[in-house]
Amino acid sequence: MKQEVLLGDEAVALGAIHAGLSGGYSYPGTPASEIMEYLVRASAHEKKFVASWSVNEKVAYEEALGVSYAGKRALVSMKHVGLNVAADPFMNSAITGANGGLVVVVADDPGMHSSQNEQDSRYFAEFAKVFCFEPSNHQEAYDMTREAFELSEKLGIPVMIRMVTRLSHSRSRVQPRPPKQQNPLKYGVGTDWILLPVHARRRFKLLVDKQKDLISVSNRSEFNSLQINPKNTTLGIIASGIAANYVIENYTGGHEQPSFLKLTTYPIPEDLVKKLVDHVDTVLIVEEGYPFIEKSISGVFGIAGKNIRGKLSGHLPSTGELSPGIVRQGLGIEALPKRDISDFPMAGRPPQLCQGCSHADTYRALNEALESYPESNVFSDIGCYTLGALPPYNAIQSCVCMGASVSMAKGGAEAGVYPSVAVIGDSTFAHSGITPLLAAAAANTNMTVFILDNATVAMTGGQPTFLSGEKLAKVTEGMGVAKEHIRTILPLPKNHDENVQIMKQELDYQGLSVVIAARECVQQARKKKRSKT
């Protein structure tokens, strides 16, 4: 087969298709979105499998679990914080087990390029007691995804693939292999999937007992490699995933490489680690994310007679993303000479709302409407409109997690905040804003919810949204918000004064109001126009 040029994310997607994927599900989130983008394109072209954006990550996970239950192969992908949303089905699916291969791809974002934290999904894999692959390059992303499906069926559990931004969004060559056929449909798996205590206890025991098999698979995995340097018993290195590349990079310039374990599977391959640790006095652990391996190996008391170094010991930084230069320093190799540009008056170029964006008009009006109140809180959410936090708008005061704006505005109002305002996008509202609005409607909380309906998931590249336009207003009404306090505005500069008035009326109203600011995303409008010409 021909070599392909793929993003790391796309290599995972192609690996899944070639493993005989029947269903792929996801909610958009950087840096994971391109996995499902690729599956959606391929599925439209081949029409052999389902590739579907979901309403949120929990739903996506459960859809994939349903496919697995039916004996077919399923993939669910998300960004790291998406797994928090899907944590419930994820944790429990480890106990039900997988029937058809179930692969969960989680893309972490060390350095927080486009995220609110840098949580490390390897802890989640350990927490759920499932197997996890951490590819270091594109070919491994492809190969490991194929292997993950095999392993999921062999071990009868979901398998995680942990990606990181730099691999997800890097492009390179991939050599594909001939594809496999999909699994046939299979009904029923006895009582294993009924997690009543009577079954769950039995299943959990089975999962715990299986751990020795997982470790044995990890010890024997062809994706790990141990090179012992017999001449050097001083230093040994353990590096996982893409961090391994940064180590190798620094030894290509003529420096002799110490003993080196490239670790790409979890649970930790104990035998390989022991062989390395036995051979050397000092072990440096290089890993992207939290000090997962370092902590697992050193425990509370460390290893007698050995120096375990890494992020915990301060030899590598505990926050942010690794780079070849940072790892070089940790390895104790002298830095490359580089130009000093610190004197130059460099200006930042922060991300900003697009020219003509509807959110900009909404924020200008909202800021003006709020001027008549001495104090207020504007709780916001996750999407393009989060950029309203930056100048010139400075319009919002929070961005925590999907849907939090509505629940926090309710809490704020109940604490005495007035006006208590929530600002949330249409897709984020569908994802996690509906349930808190239901609660606010039931209590008729004195708050104003702004739903910025631009009819797309804009920040991640314009994926489809589930709740927009007339349907959005109807759902809001159906949830019990008083009809006269559901106001739809068209955020355009020419409507500014009128919009400010409507906002003021609803902020003044002592009860729950919903203001829907509806105008299509300018990027999507442009794309549509272009595809028509």
């Binding site: 070599q3 040029v5 950087t30 840096p31 979105s33 391109e34 390029h113 486009s114 390059n137 730099r166 691999l167 969004h169 890097s170 492009r171 390179s172 060559r173 893409i242 590349n245 940064y246 190798i248 990079e249 620094n250 290509t252 780079s323 070849p324 230069g325 070089r328 830095a335 490359l336 000479p337 580089k338 130009r339 000093d340 540009i341 130059f344 008056p345 460099m346 200006a347 930042g348 170029r349 922060p350 991300p351 900003q352 709302l353 697009c354 393009c384 950029l387 920040m459 991640t460 590249g461």
Partner: protein, 192 residues
């Protein structure tokens, strides 16, 4: 044989289009390559960069170490300066001299060009003028690719082939315009 390139510019200037052409030309020549790019939030009108590494031996790190880049190829002069600490002492900068001002505190352009001129090995191109000459100010990216082309370890014919592939879905007129932009950039760099 290897070449480590930092591609720089502002979101919307078509940095990833340059990367597409170089990636595919490298693939055609049987070279290994890795190209790290920026998606998501940082893309919205912000500074965009891509690390592009081409080699006849396996490429490991997706990121270029600071002080190791053989080339900085920038569609915007201040964005070129932003990454000067990536350039190796022998490295070359190929940059546009046309500022993209979408921020209130853009530094004095003479200071920007002054910082670029501290690099001995440099090609500075009036990409805005050449792109307009080719037919559209949007073609500055292809002007800059053309300006870089005499210094790349890739064959001109392969670069031209993938410019064609890239713009073909949008019609022959756009293909020709971008090829013209490439040619204008290339001949301007050969003269300087």
């Amino acid at each position: 044989m290897k070449q480590d390139i930092i591609l720089a510019g502002v979101g919307g200037q078509g940095i990833l289009s340059i990367a597409f052409v170089i990636d595919n030309a490298a693939l055609k020549q049987g070279l290994d390559f890795k190209q790290a790019e920026v998606h998501g939030m940082a893309q919205r009108g912000g500074a965009v960069q891509s690390h592009l590494r081409i080699s006849d031996k396996p490429v490991f790190s997706d990121l270029i170490p600071k002080g190791a880049a053989d080339m900085i190829l920038s569609v915007e002069p201040m964005e070129c300066v932003r990454y000067l600490d990536y350039l190796s002492p022998e490295g070359i900068v190929i940059t546009s001299r046309s500022p993209f001002v979408n921020i209130p505190d853009y530094p004095d352009i003479d200071k920007v060009l002054g910082a670029i001129e501290t690099v001995a090995n440099r090609v500075i191109v009036d990409s805005d003028k050449l792109a307009k000459e080719a037919g559209s100010p949007k073609a500055q990216n292809m002007v800059m690719l053309g300006a870089a082309s005499p210094h790349l370890i890739l064959e001109e014919a392969n670069l031209r082939e993938f410019i064609r592939v890239l713009f073909a879905p949008r019609g022959e007129k756009l293909v020709e315009m971008n090829l013209k932009a490439f040619d204008l950039g290339r001949s301007s760099a050969m003269k300087s």
